[in-house]
Subunit: 339 residues, 2 copies
């Protein structure tokens, strides 16, 4: 297959970290990215070049382009962590096949992306394109965190930002594995759809009786783990209303508010703790067999409709500078970029 | 030995928890305790009655009488957790011997205290009375937390309230075991004495360049654990200036300020976590052999002068209502009550 010399890409304008902590909201891409014609990446030893079919837009991408993620930006390199596409070159038996991948070396918001050959994830033929484009970041995070939530055979867990794609995946796992999801959302309108999906309870932070209701539910259901993508004061208040040995597991920061620890004595006397979850670290810590088994389970869940991907928007690569910011503000669905 | 029918005691005026979070400072005992003549406790099965020689006054006692500790108050029962005395009755071979103890059933701010016979700690004859009166709460906490601080062969740790008796015990352990103590205090005047004692660095929170200096020390010494008895914003700021995988281990709440988590992303990307330490839980979790070995090491450290008890005041039981509040405000030393 003959490759072009150049490609279209959304290229980063900055190196390193910004030092800000604004969260993933974006109103414009201009400060961070530029749509540009750049050389197609050269494939090095142990690498694979993938022609991108469909790329995911995750909160981590938005944190990253703003310089607020756990790894530094690289100026003039395309952004975009996760996609599905066809392997077109590289030191791998998967050339010609459809794979999902993390773009380890050159980002996937581009016609072509470069990654490690060892990290390619072949897709079942019956896996839909949108499911395949987002089968790593959210689904693996959901699987790994759900295992934390049900440790010790606990029968319920709390999650906030429950209307997000990741939230819905977690609710599906709880529903299917007898570990009742207690969903926390900002807007009453989200409640019915999440109950339909399998949430045992839905708490709405804007309700006047939010904390009273939360306390009653905690007493009845005794969740042990709070999976938190928000990190605001509501989250802290929920944590302090949880029973003994509660774990506040933060994996995102949708809020810019720094929560206050109003009842630190609970860390001492109730054995509670506050920690973080990062998929990148999880993947470094578990063995390859576990990752392989988890990915197979992820694909099976999508193909069997135990999970579905709610698509909010598919933005053409060439129009992303204009249209992506508005698309990221669509509630309760996932955004993709299509080269 | 014939026992009197009544005894003098500082008796609690309230049941349960207060719901407040004021911290251990007390200006007066009247809202919480009354000096009163009460019956000498009856010894039940598996219990021991001890004639109190000298009782410790720990921050946990002050939290407790205010209704802010991890266990509920019992109205009309004497306060006081820890003391040394002579066993005068009970189902134990230690009758007639000097023991240290936690007063599990009737508090030790009294002429007699009642506890479980299984929890008596015989004292070496060469152990000084003040060391014996305070050999459990602070020394066992110091030993257990120091083991956390040096996990993984880490070569330094941070502690605040470093001028407290517990702080000094921790500094001594770090000095003697090649794990450099970074001491945090509020007042410049405390620095020299703590360096003398073995602190590798002393950070003074009231200094203008406190955080700059702290950051430099973190980079150079790479402590992994912050042992925290304060729980204020300085503590949170120190935690967020620590290197990857830092643990904030809170064991007390001298400050009433609720710290803000300004950089939650560090929990995710830097694998940091916030937790508590409670001696009561530690004693439930470790085996008896570990506790026995630890207590032997504690007594050896006091007898060999590796540790010393700085006595701020010894308040007679009959004068405690008047004199104890002022005594607890004396800096950098330990207060005792003498029946």
């Amino acid at each position: 297959m003959s490759l072009p010399e150049t490609m279209r890409a959304l290229v980063q304008l900055h190196d390193g970290y910004s030092g800000t902590a604004e969260g993933p909201a974006i109103d414009t891409l201009e400060p961070y990215l530029e749509f540009r014609e750049v050389p197609v990446p050269q494939v090095g030893k142990g690498q694979a070049l993938i022609k991108v079919h469909l790329a995911a837009v995750n909160p981590s991408d938005l944190h990253f382009i703003k310089g607020e993620y756990g790894q530094p930006r690289v100026k003039d390199r395309p952004a975009g962590f996760e996609a599905v596409g066809e392997v077109v070159a590289g030191d791998t038996p998967f050339v010609g096949q459809r794979v999902s991948f993390f773009a380890a070396h050159s980002g996937c918001w581009a016609d072509y992306a470069l990654t490690d050959a060892a990290g390619l994830v072949p897709c079942r033929p019956d896996l839909a394109e949108a499911d395949a484009a987002g089968q790593l970041v959210n689904p693996l995070t959901a699987m790994a965190m759900f295992d934390i939530a049900r440790e010790g055979d606990v029968k319920s867990f709390i999650l906030n930002a429950a209307g997000s794609q990741l939230g819905k995946l977690l609710i599906g796992l709880g529903r299917d594995h007898d570990c009742a999801p207690i969903a926390v959302v900002r807007r009453t309108e989200q409640a019915d759809a999440l109950k339909e999906l399998g949430a045992a309870e839905v708490l709405v932070t804007s309700d006047d009786d939010f904390m009273d209701k939360a306390k009653g539910i905690m007493r009845a259901m005794k969740p042990r783990v709070l999976l938190d993508a928000v990190g605001d004061q509501h989250t802290a208040d929920l944590f302090f209303a949880m029973p003994n040995r509660a774990r506040w597991v933060n994996y995102g920061k949708l809020s810019t508010e720094p929560p206050k620890l109003s009842q630190m004595g609970q860390l001492i006397f109730q054995h509670k703790r506050i920690e973080g979850f990062w998929l990148t670290r999880w993947m470094q810590e578990v063995d390859q067999a576990t990752i392989g088994k988890t990915i197979a389970a992820v694909q099976e869940r999508f193909v069997s409709s135990a999970w579905t991907t709610d698509v909010a928007a598919v933005v053409p690569l060439g129009e992303a500078m204009d249209k992506l910011p508005a698309a990221t503000k669509i509630q309760d669905g996932k955004v993709f970029i299509k080269p």
